[in-house]
């Protein structure tokens, strides 16, 4: 069935089977392969995207349920000119190694810092508990997110 929504500021229309998840639609139909699929049943957080500003798991949502929504993927949180403050902070703190989980952490942290730029370390840990990373041990990720808060307070996370 046809479905129309906005992805990273651009309107898209795709023809999908009802059973297609938003995650698969983004990757297969729209070639936005920055969204990674780990567990495919809502446990790992790797596929997190923003839907109408809220961080959600795109494997736990049907593409047809995104009708009319504004979706932002990890591709929509970067630009070709420079690293964003959140990306810089992840690089500075070595908050990734293999990088598989990183899109989920970036989208989740972006949603958190956009809404709560004053969040404390406990809140960051609570929110990031929904994302699994097997490389870093999380400490560097929490530090990177905490360090990016000042950029969100000043510019909303923009460069």
């Amino acid at each position: 069935m046809p479905v129309q929504f906005e992805v990273n500021g651009k309107s898209v229309s795709v023809e999908v089977e009802p059973r297609l998840t938003l995650a698969d639609c983004l990757r297969q139909n729209l070639r936005l392969t920055g969204t990674h699929l780990g567990c495919e049943h809502g446990v790992c957080g790797a596929c997190t995207v923003l839907v109408n500003g809220d961080a959600v798991r795109s494997c736990l949502m049907l593409a047809v349920q995104a009708e009319g929504a504004k979706v932002v993927t990890v591709e929509g949180l970067s630009n070709d000119a420079d690293l964003t403050p959140l990306q810089k902070s992840f690089r500075k703190h070595h908050a990734l190694q293999c990088g598989f989980c990183t899109p989920g952490f970036i989208t989740t942290a972006h949603a958190l810092l956009t809404e709560e730029p004053d969040c404390d370390a406990d809140r960051v840990r609570d929110v990031l508990s929904g994302n699994i990373c097997r490389c870093t041990g999380y400490i560097s990720i929490v530090e990177a997110v905490l360090d990016a808060r000042s950029a969100y307070k000043k510019t909303g996370g923009g460069p």
Binding site: P18, R19, H41, V56, L60, M61, L62, Q65, G130
Partner: protein, 285 residues
Amino acid sequence: MKLPPFEYACPATLSEAVALLASHDGDAKAIAGGQSLMPMLAFRVASPSLLVDLRKLPGLNKIAIDSDGVKLGAMVRWRDIEDDERLKTAHPLLKAAIAHVAHYQIRNRGTVGGSIAHADPAAEMPGIAMTCDAGIAVTGKSGSRVIKAADFFLGALTTALEPDEIITEIRLPAWPQSRRFGFQEFARRRGDFAMAGVALYYDPDPSGKASNAHVGVIGVGDRPQRLTAVEAAINGNTIDEATIARAAAAASAAVEPQQDIHASAAYRRALTGTLVERALKIAAA
């Protein structure tokens, strides 16, 4: 795994949604936030022929608070409960319990109606509904009715909901401001389903003795339960160390927990007592 094939409908009214569910001989499923149903589909535990999306149904996403209590529309998300400042006084036990539900991303989509309909034995919302004598308002092809929580949960993932019925509202009775409460659960990781959880409250009388105790447990049986033996140990007593110890012992004795890969039955039994003790200490503090 990828989901099994199904048809999909997104009706604009409750009556259309009910008609769609009724037209598929019990083989259609309603989907709200999908945070329980989507994993069930991915595991192919559920493979309905039709999914009826409730997202366009009007008026189901409101939290109404009046002298009768709190009415949660079925499509109210965990996030909405977290964000609603009024609930801090209108239903602090609900607020405390919902803080334990799943993770940030899931709280942005998961709904109270979905959790009640899914009826996971360890889920917080069914536990709160049981503990607080909630009414569950449903509408089906034969009309609307309100089912008491005690009559609603029939077993693990099994409820009194007919295949053509849709939950519209969860009604929690009014919360007196003098009421004392505690919520405690234990899971190995943040956001996991609890190995055991306890929700309790009581109303202190003018002399400070407890009355009207309600004690509910999750994760230690095939459905959320009230523990009347623990309530009896609390009612009429001051909540001191002796009462707390008696209540905790009564809780451990009252439950018949299952054994699984997460914990033995004996561990869950002991944990239930410990959680009753902690919740009562918080309530009395």
